[in-house]
Subunit: 117 residues, 2 copies
DNA sequence: ACAAGTACTTACCCCAAAGTATGTAACTAT
DNA sequence: ATAGTTACATACTTTGGGGTAAGTACTTGT
């Protein structure tokens, strides 16, 4: 157990910045490499786990379920599992998840304007 | 020198995903804890280094200049230094930086709607 | 003489995110 | 019998972002 100072900036952020800065709030939800990509693929409709895997070949299975779980916890993605064998698990965006379209869209706009692709 | 496998997902991303996914492109520019906050503070006009420091008390000086440098390299922020003593260095948003307003704004919208603050 | 302010720089540490590799349960098709 | 499919789980390692602490050069105020 390595102690973390009570007064560290990290702790301060966890308590204050994350809840008071809306942009950081969003980053916490869709930040990282894979989340926006997963969300993007779910924008075109619900997908099975294996479909997502094929749609994003570079992602490892660990990263895929890990992020799907986090997205569920953040109520951006809904998981529907059918109790059949082989299992059929379908992921879809929640209302909050769908609402992210505006955010991703403005990002794409900016990227196009500013030298990407 | 620890070798990194040629075929690692990371390398693949550096070469492909970063340039082909606009959202990831944006994340690379404004991702992380401090960049959006710094940009936010520059939205209200040019600021001196020390002004930024006072405006964001939790940030360390190392993080502040580090990110200011990265923002310069990404052409989001402009640095203006006057050769006087004590030094006067002013940071301001470039056109690209100002254009980020739409992106940050849509993030704030979403955050308000979805349970932050 | 020396503290204080300005805009940094440098060395070092820590941890969480990301990646690698492998295993599992339950069934189906050959 | 055994290979394949589906949707995961788990142990281990790496790496980069972020943090701490301290120092620098130059000048002004007391």
């Amino acid at each position: 157990m390595t102690a973390v100072k009570e007064s560290s900036t990290r702790n301060f952020n966890k308590g204050v910045a994350l809840t008071s800065c809306p942009v950081t709030f969003v980053m916490e939800k869709i930040g990282g490499y894979w989340k926006p990509i997963i969300i993007f693929h779910l924008m075109s409709g619900p997908k099975r786990y294996s479909e997502l895997k094929r749609a994003i070949p570079q992602i490892t299975e660990k990263m895929l379920i890990q992020h799907l779980k986090q997205l569920q916890n953040d109520d951006l993605v809904h998981r529907d599992a059918q109790a059949v064998i082989p299992p059929v698990v379908t992921y879809s965006l929640t209302k909050s998840g769908e609402d992210l379209f505006q955010v991703l869209d403005s990002m794409v706009d900016w990227a196009i304007k500013n030298g990407s692709v």
